[in-house]
């Protein structure tokens, strides 16, 4: 029965969104992780989603979501002059991650809403299937 595929599809959506939430959490947690060199500084990460086509039935247009990978933000790191800082380099600079807290908050809300959407889909599908199973009872 094809309706059971919805569980896979919505499940993959939930999986992708929870991974996105994880990445947001990681970015937010590291927002103050300063360091003394450009290379060591944490860079904001973003997940990349990809639609997975049905391998068995390629004519089937209903697809789940897959994590294609995680990319690091190309935005410039914040260089701050703080000679009194314990981690300051010889020139007296420290480097802050390129995490934009506002962006991350918006990302977080978007991810949790999308997650909820998928949960709703699962719930209604479950109800539909239960009603179908109880047909004629």
């Amino acid at each position: 029965m094809s309706s059971f595929k919805i569980f896979d599809i919505a499940g993959s959506g939930m999986n992708a969104q929870s991974l996105r939430l994880n990445v947001v959490a990681s970015n937010m947690a590291n927002v103050d992780a300063v360091s003394s060199s450009l290379e060591e500084t944490y860079r904001a990460r973003q997940p990349v989603f990809k639609a997975v086509l049905d391998q068995v039935n390629t004519r089937n247009p209903s697809v789940g979501v897959q994590m294609a990978g995680i990319v690091e933000s190309k935005a410039p790191l914040v260089r701050e002059f703080a000679p009194e800082h314990a981690l300051a380099d010889e020139q007296g600079y420290i480097y802050r991650p390129n995490v934009n807290v506002m962006e991350e908050m918006a990302n977080m809300i978007s991810a949790s809403r999308a997650y909820q959407n998928n949960v709703e889909v699962l719930n209604s599908t479950r109800q539909m299937l239960t009603a179908t199973i109880n047909l004629g009872r």
Binding site: M1, S2, S3, K5, I6, I9, A10, S12, G13, A16, Q17, R20, V48, F49, K50, A51, R59, N60, P61, S62, V63, G64, V65, S110, A111, R113, A114, N117, N118, E120, V121, S124, T125, Q127, M128, A131, T132, L135, G136
Partner: protein
């Protein structure tokens, strides 16, 4: 009374509704996938097709697999035209998909109710009692 069309249009309708909920679920799941194009199909047209001229393949050999009925091929699918386009090429509008999904689920349950009534009526006729 013929048993062939005892469930009338609702059997086909149910199958198509289930299929459509699958398509709408993938739209919602891919709400944040860059470049994903939301899809849907014209339910009324598909149902009319299915009832008027059901697609059946002739099985000339015993080994032939019966064609899946009520399946909507991707060529019969359309792409949703978004009200507002997004930068990453994704055309899913979550609110709209949600509305379509819940409407579809309600109509599924309506068809289910009809089927249920039909089955209960038959049972009554067979047993000669109500329940």
């Amino acid at each position: 009374m013929s048993f062939d069309n005892i469930f009338g249009i609702h059997e086909e309708a149910l199958r198509l509704r289930a299929r459509r909920s699958e398509v709408l679920a993938s739209n919602l799941a891919n709400a944040d996938t860059p470049g994903y194009k939301a899809r849907d199909f014209d339910f009324a047209a598909m149902l009319r097709n299915e009832v008027q001229q059901p697609v059946r393949l002739a099985a000339t050999q015993t080994g032939h697999i019966k064609a899946d009925q009520g399946v909507v091929a991707s060529t019969q699918m359309g792409y949703r035209i978004p009200h507002q386009s997004s930068l990453d090429g994704n055309t899913v509008e979550a609110e709209r998909e949600q509305a379509e999904f819940s409407e579809n689920a309600m109509r599924y349950q309506a068809s289910l109710r009809f089927l249920d009534g039909r089955i209960k009526g038959l049972m009554m006729a067979i047993k000669g009692t109500s329940q």
